[in-house]
Each structure stands twice: as structure tokens, then as C-alpha cells.
């Protein structure tokens, strides 16, 4: 990467793999379970978190020297909430139908612990450019897991991807369904997201033994 120094690119690439916010830091699990029943919702949530975390990290980083430490958590919350409200209003004004389908998810961003976690752990102690990269990196790391989980849950649970019936029609019995295949409705429930995330963690740790904690 010519644009970024080695250290900077590490900020983006690390959260994608060996320091992933979901599988290693185990942050942001709540929304990862709640919204991954459809691929589309996962992608939209990723984009929203990308924006909020990227901009939020920069704002917090710029203010890091003037924020009174006693009320820093509240300040962080106010910054997240403000950004989320702005996103919500802009969506309502320019992409009304999308905002209708997203209604709950947008509010969920506020409660996403990755955001508070990165503000507290990184942006409060680093400059704006680094914080921006860290925000983007962590949002992408979060998004990758969301999209993988969403892909499998929608495919196995509903037999669709992005709403398209890729496996055939379960009612008319075409495609795979003609051979007796059935959708697994269990995949649509939150516990299966936890199990899917667990499998990802398993694969990741068996490939990189350094990630396994000693007892």
C-alpha cells in the first residue's frame, strides 16, 4: 500500500483477521445475533457502522484533549447518538423506503459496544488520522463476520440470497426442493447465529494457534 505506512495499514488489516472485534474481542455480539437473518440487513448495518465508527472516532480523537475524563462516557454516547440521528434523518429525507426497512437497526447502532469500545480504547489516545483508520478497520472486521453469518443464515434458513430464490421455489418444489431439500427454519433464530460465530472462531483459532488462550 503506497498510500498508507506499514503501521497504518496494520490498523485496518488487523481487525479484519487476528484482532477481529467479534471473534477475538467478542464485542458487538448482540447486533451480530439480531440482524444477520438476512444478507441485506447485514450489509446495510455494516455500511451504517462504517460511517458512524469512522466519523465518530475522528470526532472523539479531535476532542480527546478537552474532554473532561469524569464525563467522557457521556460525551461518547452523545457523539454516537448525534451521528445516528443524522444518519436516520438523512435516510428519511433521501432514501425513505430504505429507512422504513431499517427503522430498528439504525437505533441499534447506538447500543453497539464496538463503537463505545473503540472510542474508549483507541480514539481517546490517538490522533484523528489513526483513529479514522482504526474505526474503518474495526467496522470492516465487524462487517466481514456479519456478512459471512448473514450469508449462511439466509441461504440455509430461507433458501434465498439478497431476497432472490437461489435454491428454487420451496412452495412450487423447483430446483433443489424437487430433490426433497428443506429449509432449516432453525437458522433464522438467534441461537444459530451464535453457533455460526462459534464455528468461525473455531476455524480461525485452529488456523492460528497463537490466538488460543492458555488455561
Amino acid at each position: 500500500m503506497g498510500l498508507l505506512s506499514k503501521k497504518d495499514s496494520k490498523l485496518i488489516l488487523d481487525p479484519l483477521a487476528d484482532n477481529n472485534p467479534i471473534t477475538i474481542q467478542v464485542l458487538g455480539i448482540c447486533s451480530a445475533l439480531a440482524i444477520t437473518a438476512q444478507l441485506k440487513a447485514s450489509v446495510v448495518m455494516t455500511v451504517s457502522v462504517l460511517f458512524v465508527l469512522g466519523v465518530g472516532n475522528v470526532v472523539i480523537s479531535l476532542m480527546r484533549n478537552i474532554i473532561p475524563s469524569k464525563i467522557r462516557i457521556i460525551v461518547q454516547l452523545v457523539v454516537v447518538a448525534t451521528l445516528v440521528i443524522i444518519v436516520d434523518q438523512v435516510l428519511k429525507a433521501f432514501s425513505y423506503e430504505l429507512s422504513k426497512t431499517l427503522s430498528v437497526f439504525v437505533g441499534l447502532i447506538i447500543t453497539n459496544c464496538i463503537i463505545m469500545g473503540r472510542f474508549e480504547a483507541f480514539a481517546l489516545g490517538n490522533g484523528p488520522w489513526k483513529s479514522f483508520l482504526d474505526g474503518i478497520g474495526n467496522a470492516l472486521g465487524y462487517g466481514v463476520i456479519l456478512i459471512i453469518v448473514g450469508f449462511f443464515r439466509e441461504l440455509l434458513g430461507s433458501g434465498t440470497l439478497w431476497g432472490y430464490k437461489v435454491l428454487g421455489d420451496p412452495i412450487a418444489k423447483t430446483g433443489l426442493y424437487a430433490l426433497g431439500y428443506e429449509n432449516n427454519g432453525f437458522m433464522l433464530l438467534s441461537p444459530m447465529a451464535l453457533i455460526t460465530v462459534g464455528i468461525i472462531i473455531w476455524i480461525q483459532r485452529s488456523r492460528n494457534k497463537a490466538l488460543i488462550e492458555e488455561n
Partner: protein, 250 residues
């Protein structure tokens, strides 16, 4: 430059300053975007009204709700909705802005006995058939629910559309799904000659909704309160239109 950020006075000053900055920023954004949001809501109302009378882009798609697209909806609304009426007691007046009447405000005003509530009613024509579309508003589990139901002269339901502000995702929020709304088509609001509305009923032993004269549709599992809200909303709001429909028959 070193600021002592630990001082109480500084903390207080910072908090007040932040509230002022954030507050004005949000107020600025909200008022700047308001015209766009209002316009979107107006088009959405037109889409919903048309959807209730079966003017939509569902095509062969059996599963999801597809409204007339926003760029066409204003023109289609003019084509299909032939009359917009405001019923006030025995007075019926035409008003092409009737669809903008805020039911919530009317409901609040109607608490004053002397106020004669304005009831909007939309008359649509499609394929030679006349639809009467009634707007409704009620309470779900968490917040407001609303909808439009289209009926013919005999008050047999031709189509329905429901929406909600904050019902539980996956449970109560399913009132805006096709499998629930489509059940209302063909249901009768009368039992013999008395007005009974339509019950969102648990255990009506008719989950496929084959019996159209039982005044019942199948409820959504896990959404009892929202379903009861729909039942109450239909009963309460359609009852107010009975005098008008009686006058149609004579």
C-alpha cells in the same frame, strides 16, 4: 496549552457547551431536511391508499409488498382516486387535500363534545368497480398503528394495508406483511345486519382463511396485543362511517 480538565467548573462548562452545540446541530439538520421528509410522507400516504384498493406493483410476487413507485404515485393517485370526501355529521364535502387530514389531531379534537369530527373517505375506481377507502388509526403494543381498508358499497373488504410505528420486530411488526394483510380480502364487516367488524382471532380453526363470512382472520403468534389493537381499530374507526354507507344504500 494546558487546560485543567479535572475541574468541576470546567466539566460543567463543557457539558453545557456540548449540549448547545449538539442541540443546534440537530435542530439545523432536522429543519433543513423537513421539507424532503414531509414530501416523502405525503407520497407514502398516497402509496398506502392506492395499495389498499389493489393498485400496486405486486405482480406475481406472492410474498412482499410492492407499492407504486414514488415517481409515478402522484399521477396514479389522480387517476384512480376519483373523489376525496370529508364527512362531518350529515355534511359531505369534496376536498382534494382530504388525504392529508391528520387522524391523530382529529381524534384529539373530537374529545371536545361540541367538535364535529372530520372523517376523510377516498373513493376509487378500478376496472369499473368502486372502492371506498377508509383510513384508520389505533394503538398497538408499543405505539401507534394505522392503516387503510377498502370496502365496496356492501362494506365487504376489498383490500387492507396496515403499518405501525414501533411494534416488536418479527412479531407485531408482521401486521404489515402480505400473509396478514391479504387475509382481510373478502371478509365481511357485518354479521347478518349488525356491524361487528373483523376479529384478529386466535384459534379460529381457519388458518388458511377459507371462511370469509366468519368476521375473523387468523392472528399472528406472539402478537396478541398488536392483533387486538387491529381488531379494535377496525371496529372503532369503521363504525363512524356507518351512517354514510347506510345513506349510500338509500
Amino acid at each position: 496549552m494546558a487546560i485543567n480538565t479535572e475541574k468541576n467548573s470546567y466539566t460543567l462548562f463543557f457539558a453545557i457547551g456540548m449540549v448547545i452545540v449538539v442541540g443546534s446541530l440537530l435542530a439545523f439538520v432536522a429543519s433543513g431536511l423537513k421539507p424532503n421528509i414531509k414530501e416523502n410522507e405525503r407520497l407514502e400516504k398516497q402509496q398506502n391508499i392506492l395499495y389498499a384498493m389493489g393498485v400496486d406493483e405486486n405482480g406475481d410476487d406472492p410474498g412482499s409488498v410492492n407499492f407504486i413507485s414514488t415517481d409515478k404515485v402522484a399521477a396514479e393517485f389522480k387517476t384512480y382516486i376519483t373523489k376525496q370526501l370529508i364527512i362531518q355529521g350529515d355534511n359531505v364535502t369534496e376536498d382534494d387535500q382530504a388525504y392529508l387530514i391528520d387522524l391523530k389531531k382529529e381524534e384529539a379534537l373530537a374529545k371536545d363534545e361540541s367538535y364535529e369530527r372530520r372523517l376523510p373517505l377516498f373513493v376509487g375506481e378500478k376496472d369499473g368497480k368502486t372502492f371506498y377507502i377508509v383510513p384508520m388509526r389505533g394503538k398497538g403494543l408499543w405505539d401507534a398503528i394505522w392503516g387503510y381498508v377498502s370496502v365496496d358499497e356492501e362494506m365487504v373488504v376489498q383490500g387492507a394495508f396496515f403499518d405501525h410505528k414501533g411494534e416488536t420486530p418479527g412479531l407485531g411488526s408482521n401486521i404489515k406483511e402480505r400473509f396478514f394483510m391479504d387475509d382481510f380480502k373478502g371478509e365481511n364487516l357485518f354479521n347478518g345486519t349488525s356491524f361487528v367488524g373483523i376479529d384478529v382471532a386466535k384459534g379460529n380453526a381457519d388458518p388458511l382463511n377459507k371462511d370469509k363470512s366468519d368476521n375473523q382472520v387468523d392472528a399472528i403468534a406472539g402478537a396478541t396485543i398488536t392483533g387486538n389493537g387491529v381488531t379494535a381499530m377496525i371496529k372503532k374507526d369503521l363504525r363512524m362511517y356507518l351512517p354514510y354507507f347506510n345513506s349510500l344504500k338509500n
